[in-house]
């Protein structure tokens, strides 16, 4: 409990709630390794001389590329460019391909005793070198290309090489700064894997989230409509099936509590099938829960009513049975009309239990969760807007509980979800307080 309240003030999410331990060791080791390479003078001089030997063929390659490029730009036909230009290019690239593994071996953290999957030289640089070598290999046979192709290839090779030269120059000149950058970026990543205290940020975010207002609005609307429906249907059915006019009441009442006896899951499957857009009742009433939010909302109301009316009905029936026969007879003798009799005699007698049922069932609607979830996952998906806040894509019928549930199961923003639930909890507790006040008064 305390833990979950604490989470509400953190930035917990999928990445940091259950961090991959491998990833953490990787990062930690690469930090240690970079620090070691930076601070060990012996290693440093060795690395710098290695870099110098790497830079030489790189610079050569750049130079030959430039030569070929200049010739081509001067309008020399490819066939007139001396073949040894390309041969020199190829030779320098060969040297490069020999030295690169040596460099990456010596700058390899795993070999230095800090096993990590992250290299000091980023993989994009190594890939660049690879593609450069391939390119040069292709250029050994310049006659195979048209002028335009040859020029494009040369230009590409030239650009790749010059960016590589820049990169390794920086590494050689500002060796320590480079290592510091490596350390910093690893530390940043490591930090994102740790849960941090972020104060009230989650709540600020919540109150700026249009989906929250939408959820609040839909929930309150659902409370109003569904409670009215449930209570209305339940009470009317109870009165109707208690009257002497209906024959076979007992058997019919047994039929009527079927929704109560059916496990929720079975009802859910049934209603989902019935109210599909191509299902029987969905077609009959022209409802499509998957595209129209108000169609879906209507089906939620119907389903909730169907689920809850047996409860209301049973309570009302119990209260009706409690009305003494002679009271009703007395009203007959007094000549009261059916309507007056109901208002003056029946209503006061059943008021208390019925309003208790109303309070209980309001609680159920306030916490509507399964009904929207099972019917269409609180959809359809669309732009959820709140006046003054803006719009955002989301599930249009997310009620409050579903809203938090989805933040956990879909977005996996645990800190945010926990803060939502603190607010929902406050709402529920307010409701319970009202409920208890009501109980006390009715006693």
């Amino acid at each position: 409990m305390l833990f979950s309240i604490g989470v509400a003030f953190t930035n917990a999410d999928q990445k940091n709630i259950l961090p991959n331990p491998q990833e953490i060791t990787d990062l930690e080791n690469s930090i240690k390794c970079a620090l070691f390479i930076r601070d060990n003078p012996e290693y440093k001089s060795k690395a710098i001389s290695l870099l110098a030997s790497l830079l030489k063929p790189l610079n050569d390659t750049l130079m030959y590329f430039k030569k070929i490029k200049n010739k081509l730009e001067a309008g020399v036909e490819p066939s007139n460019i001396p073949q040894y230009y390309f041969d020199d290019l190829y030779r320098s690239a060969r040297t490069l391909s020999r030295i690169v593994p040596e460099v990456s071996r010596s700058l390899n953290c795993t070999a230095l005793g800090y096993p990590t999957s992250r290299g000091l030289i980023p993989s994009r640089i190594l890939e660049k070198i690879d593609s450069l070598i391939t390119l040069v290999g292709m250029l050994t046979n310049p006659g195979a290309f048209s002028r335009e192709q040859l020029y494009n290839y040369t230009l590409t090779g030239h650009n790749i090489t010059s960016s590589l030269v820049d990169y390794f120059m920086r590494l050689k000149v500002d060796y320590e700064g480079y290592m510091n950058d490596v350390v910093k970026s690893a530390q940043r990543e490591l930090e994102s894997l740790q849960i941090r205290f972020i104060g009230l940020d989650n709540f600020v975010r919540l109150f700026n989230d249009p989906r929250f207002y939408n959820a609040l609005y839909k929930t309150l609307l659902f409370v109003v409509t569904s409670v009215a429906l449930k209570m209305g249907v339940g009470v009317i059915l109870a009165i109707f099936y208690s009257s002497d006019l209906v024959i076979g009441r007992k058997a019919l009442r047994a039929l009527l509590i079927i929704p109560w006896a059916m496990p929720f899951l079975l009802s859910a499957v049934t209603w989902k099938f019935l109210f599909q857009a191509n299902g029987q009742l969905g077609r009959l009433f022209g409802l499509n829960m998957n595209t129209d939010q108000w169609d879906a909302f209507l089906v939620y109301n119907l389903f909730e009513t169907w689920l809850a009316y047996p409860f209301v009905m049973t309570i009302t029936q119990g209260a009706l049975r409690g009305i003494p026969k002679d009271v009703i007879e007395a009203s007959y003798i007094d000549g009261a009309s059916v309507f007056t009799r109901f208002r003056k005699v029946v209503l006061p007698m059943i008021k208390k239990p019925v309003s208790l049922a109303a309070v209980l069932t309001t609680g159920a609607s306030l916490q509507a969760f399964l009904v929207p979830l099972v019917l269409n996952g609180a959809g359809p998906i669309g732009d959820v807007c709140a006046p003054g806040i803006g719009c955002r894509a989301g599930y249009m019928n997310e009620m409050l509980i579903v809203f938090g549930y989805y933040r956990i199961t879909i977005d996996r923003e645990y800190g945010y979800a926990a803060s939502i639930y603190l607010i929902v909890l406050a709402i529920i507790l307010a409701y319970v307080a009202i409920y208890f006040k009501f109980l006390k008064k009715s006693r």
């Binding site: 409990m1 833990f3 979950s4 989470v7 709630i17 259950l18 961090p19 059915l237 109707f240 099936y241 006019l245 209906v246 024959i247 076979g248 009441r249 019919l252 039929l255 009527l256 079927i258 929704p259 006896a261 059916m262 496990p263 929720f264 899951l265 079975l266 009802s267 859910a268 499957v269 049934t270 209603w271 989902k272 099938f273 019935l274 599909q276 191509n278 299902g279 029987q280 169907w306 009316y309 609680g363 159920a364 306030l366 916490q367 969760f369 399964l370 979830l373 099972v374 996952g377 509980i401 938090g404 956990i408 645990y414 926990a418 639930y421 929902v424 909890l425 529920i428 319970v432 208890f436």
Partner: protein, 284 residues
Amino acid sequence: MVRASIVILKICASILGVFIAIALAYPLVYIVAQALIGKPTILITELNDLVEYGLTIDNFIKTVQDPEFHESLINTFVVASITVILAILVIIPSAYAFSRFDFIGKDTILYYYLIVSQAGSGLGIISVLALYIFFLRMAAYGVGLIRIEILPFIYVSGLIPFQTWLVKSYFDQLPKELDEASFIDGANWFTTIFRVIFPASKAAFIIIVLFAFMSAWGEFIIANIMGLKTLGRYIYVKAVAGPAGLMRPGEFAAAAILFAIPMIVLFAVSQKYIGEAYRLGMKG
């Protein structure tokens, strides 16, 4: 004349009554028909479908043969049984203690139970999600708690507030003199509890067993959050949340009905106890 009009009124009202009752019970008829239809891939939209494809029990047979169904059925059975045993072990003694003894914090705890049990299902979802986050965090420290064995504990903790009140009210009704008489007769605690109290509170046991079993059997959302394979989750994931249900509605209607049968039977059995339980619970 008046008599005749009353008779007509009666007939009309009864017809209306039958009509409404059938309309409200219709979903059950529909799902049974859907489970029995001869072509499992079709969603029934008109009566004619039944005539055209005929009725069979193939869907049920197919469902029963699905190995995944077996696995979840066994899991659910184990979970439900453990839940029942745990519920009895935890709730009966604590309810007895609440009923018979005075201890520090008794009223506070009872009041807390009352609030929690009346607050509704949303609170349960919230706490389970909080628990889930906690479990994930524990897993980060190498303590894997998300396993099928954890479910009964969660279910029982969900049952405790309401059920403790219920059984406590029940024990309150048993006269205290019963215990005292037994002590005076020289019985020790053991004998008093097992020979006197338990036999007298058979109904409380029945209520707990039924409630615990039904809630564990019918639960699916907690299992789904935790990703544990129970029968409820199997049906929920496939038929309700996923697309399989609409592709083979016949089979999943059958699966849902098979899943529901034990609960409906228990509901019928427990009808009179449930009434009594709510009456007792409301008192508190």
